[in-house]
């Protein structure tokens, strides 16, 4: 779950990459590699940035850049998405391929996983076919040693004829080794692109085609690479190529002629397009195998046995699902029980400050309205948001990051794939769903890891069915208020956690339901194929997790909430205090919305709060409280039970509480998510659907429950 400063919120909206050089002599270096080989860790180490790291394939879905200085030379590192191949299958792989092919970087550092070097070399060789300016960074050397593998880097370097550096992602010495190797990029012609030999007919066809291609690309690209691709054309590659060269190669008469000849050569030799493809890939795989022979040696057998044992437990027939549920419950329980005390302390502290702020305003002789706007409006909403959100987030995020770091998330996708398959969707949707727990906008971007456009769209449209972190506090507070007996004993927190788990499961259930529905109607289609790597389990870096998830996720998400809460607090204060015709604006609007809201078992105020909460769901509950307080005489609220008293005084029943929770789970995505959906789908239609689909379901659920409840009353 790539939830970091740059992947959550508006920054999740990937608006293309703009390389920012600080000085002309800066070198642009692409950081490439298979998914999940620790590229982001190396990137962060070099550039000191907070690209979020996690242990699952496909976490980096767009390019990030960072600056690195070594011996007075500046390097701009671009962290491109992990790919297995440059012949793109999915949107993220296309991003990677286009960068290496068309941004003409001064060099490419290819990060490999020492524990499965052979497969990683496949990508190294593909990149070396395009450019010779490659440094191979064999990462996770510690992991390999633990598995009883030894890697002969010298031998690999001799065979590849480019620098090979062995690294352990988070170690400083490794970084220095890599930095020293960067000198290789000083000479742009140090090494020619790699030439792989194919069967005789293919070589003959290439010989017919390559000279004319060389004339057309004028040294801007490796002509052998382009010639090979012309024989097995890929639409998206060639539209990029057309833009890059300013010429459509297929319209070039010389090339047309040569291509026809070359295809004739292949046809006569009985080589179909599939044969050609197979030959291209097989030649890469066998070359990788040859290069690896004698480079990787097994020192002791059974290194991976431990992983298989863990897998038998975490993905076993009897244990897989229960363990998943228990882990979910455990995380929620730790979050709820751990957050109780700090939340109430924080809220006490912040209200104490409110009192001092008031005194300050009076002492300065500020007018009453100014005091009310700033303290009772803006400050009060802010303190609600902070005290309700900070403690649970500070516990939830590190716990989740822990699971991510260990490598559990791909196992969730593996466990749940069957259910998604039944819905004609992709198991990787569970990964974007998990990201959604943190931030739905990040989840929507995360859906890029899904190859099939149809299945990706399903993942995008259903992401909002899991509550993001902004909605957790609302749901937890209301659950606790109305359905948990007073007291903070272990049973009451456990009960809250159970209820919350139930709500989440309901959300997941609807994810399946809606995915299946979309697959049968608007997005008709069969489940496509599915390949997912299950990475080795890794020892989590606990200290780092805590620091990163606190600084990166918690404070950032909180900052966003605060930024939205301040103006919203102001707005609701104005609405509650400006009167027209004897009544406040708030009560006018509430009265207007009330009849409809009552149908849903809500009230006008709640609906206003949800509407104003469009920029950030975090502020819904504080807005409801503000609005109720504006008319009442209660000014201080130190515990959740006083909050409950306020709600009950405003006509809430258990049914209202259920409906608010349901509506919080199923309503429109926040504005950031909507913008992200638009950017990802480039379609108003799908964006509108993503708005109305959950809203419609939420309203339907609420109306049903309200109707049924009314029947029994």
């Amino acid at each position: 779950m790539g939830l970091s400063y740059r992947s959550t919120g508006l920054s999740a909206v990937d608006s293309g990459l703009w390389i920012q050089k600080r000085k002309e002599s800066d070198r642009v270096i692409a950081l490439a590699g298979n998914p999940n080989v620790g590229k982001s860790t190396i990137f962060n180490g070099l550039t000191g940035m907070n690209q979020h790291t996690g242990n699952w394939p496909g976490k980096t879905v767009s390019c990030a850049q960072g600056y690195f200085e070594w011996e007075q030379k500046g390097y701009i590192f671009v962290d491109i998405p992990g790919t297995y191949s440059l012949l793109a299958h999915s949107a993220e792989e296309e991003v990677a391929r286009n960068f290496i092919c068309f941004q003409d970087p001064d060099g490419v550092v290819v990060v490999c996983d020492a524990t499965c070097l052979e497969r990683n070399l496949n990508l190294v060789l593909q990149i070396m076919e395009i450019t010779g300016r490659v440094i191979v960074c064999v990462n996770l050397m510690d992991e390999a040693a633990r598995k009883g593998l030894s890697v002969d880097l010298k031998k690999l370097e001799e065979r590849l004829q480019v620098p090979v550096v062995g690294t352990i992602g988070q170690k400083t010495e490794s970084r220095h080794e890599l930095a020293k190797a960067l000198a290789f990029f000083e000479n742009r012609d140090a090494k020619a692109p790699l030439t792989l030999r194919y069967s005789e007919p293919v070589e003959k066809a290439l010989a017919q085609l390559e000279p004319v291609v060389a004339l057309a690309v004028k040294g801007k690209m490796n002509s052998r690479f382009v010639a090979l691709r012309l024989l097995d054309p890929d639409e998206s590659l060639f539209s990029e190529l057309k833009a890059y060269l300013g010429e459509d190669l297929f319209n070039n008469p010389l090339i047309q002629k040569a291509l026809w000849d070359a295809k004739e050569t292949l046809k006569q030799a009985g080589i179909s397009r599939t044969d050609l493809r197979d030959q291209i890939v097989s030649s890469l795989v066998t070359t990788a195998e040859r290069y690896c022979e004698g480079v990787v040696t097994v020192q002791k057998e059974g290194g991976a046995k431990r992983d298989r044992k863990i897998d038998r437990f975490l993905t076993g027939r009897k244990t897989g699902y229960p363990v998943m549920l228990l882990l979910l419950l455990l995380i929620f329980w730790l979050t709820i029980s751990g957050a109780n005390l700090p939340s109430s302390l924080l809220s006490k502290g912040l209200f104490w400050i409110e009192g001092r702020l008031s005194e300050l305003f009076y002492a300065l002789g500020a007018p009453n309205w100014l005091h009310d706007v700033c303290v009772l409006g803006i400050y009060r909403v802010l303190s609600w948001v902070v005290s309700a959100m900070l403690p649970p987030m500070a516990i939830f995020f590190p716990l989740f990051t822990l699971l991510e770091d260990v490598g559990y998330l791909p196992r969730v996708a593996y466990n749940l794939d069957h259910a998604f398959q039944r819905c004609h969707a992709c198991g990787k949707q569970s990964l974007s769903m998990c990201m959604g727990f943190g931030c739905n906008a990040a989840g929507v971007v995360g859906a890029r890891i899904i190859d099939s456009p149809r299945e990706r769209l399903i993942a995008i449209l259903t992401n909002n069915f899991v509550p993001c972190n902004g909605r957790f506090p609302t749901i937890i507070s209301i659950l606790t208020m109305f359905f948990v007996a007073a007291g903070s004993g272990i049973f009451s927190t456990l009960w809250s956690a159970l209820l919350l788990t139930g709500v989440i499961i309901l959300g997941i259930f609807f994810t399946f339901l809606v995915s299946a529905f979309l697959s049968k109607t608007l997005l008709k289609g069969e489940a496509s194929s599915f390949t997912l790597e299950l990475p080795p389990y890794r020892r989590p870096q606990v200290g780092k997790i805590i620091v990163r998830s606190l600084l990166d996720r918690t404070l950032f998400v909180l900052g966003r909430a605060v930024a939205v809460a301040a103006p919203a607090g102001l707005l609701i204060w104005i609405l509650a205090n400006v009167s027209v015709g004897g009544d406040t604006l708030l009560s006018h609007i509430a009265a207007f919305l009330d009849p409809f809201a009552q149908l849903l078992g809500l009230d006008g105020v709640i609906l206003i709060a949800f509407l104003l909460g469009l920029p950030a769901n975090e502020i819904v509950l504080p807005l409801i409280i503000m609005a109720y307080l504006a008319d009442g005489s209660l000014t201080e609220m130190e515990s959740i039970w006083e909050m409950k008293a306020l709600f009950v005084a405003n006509g809430w029943t258990a049914v209202t509480a259920i409906n608010v929770i349901l509506f919080s789970l199923f309503h429109w995505p926040c504005s950031t998510t909507l913008i992200t959906i638009y950017k990802e789908t480039k379609s108003v239609k799908w964006t509108l659907l993503s708005f109305f689909l959950p809203t419609g379901i939420g309203m339907l659920c609420c109306a049903c429950i309200n109707g049924v409840a009314g029947f029994f009353q």
């Binding site: 599939t274 027939r317 009897k318 069957h418 194929s529």
Partner: protein, 83 residues
């Protein structure tokens, strides 16, 4: 007549050698990319709780495949004794 075994027939712990790939299109490319070419040794290392997908060890990496895809990967020398 001898039955053609596919990767889908492997039980956890069993190993075999890939003899041919029947898949077409982008999945074929993807499987080849992952190193599943002819003569590659593959081991089934487990099944998911629902029995599908299953996990396979290919060239040092563990890859999950659905049965719809794994039944298009034909194998030979399926042999539990060597596993």
């Amino acid at each position: 007549m001898k039955k053609n075994y596919s990767l889908n027939d492997l039980k956890p712990g069993e190993k075999a050698i890939v003899s041919s790939l029947l898949s077409t299109g982008s999945i074929r490319r993807r499987l080849l990319d992952m190193g599943l070419i002819e003569n590659t040794v593959v081991e089934c290392v487990g099944k998911s709780p629902a029995g599908d997908p299953a996990a396979f060890l290919v060239r040092g990496a563990v890859i999950a495949l659905r049965s719809d895809d794994s039944q298009n990967i034909l194998i030979r020398e399926r042999d539990a004794l060597w596993g």
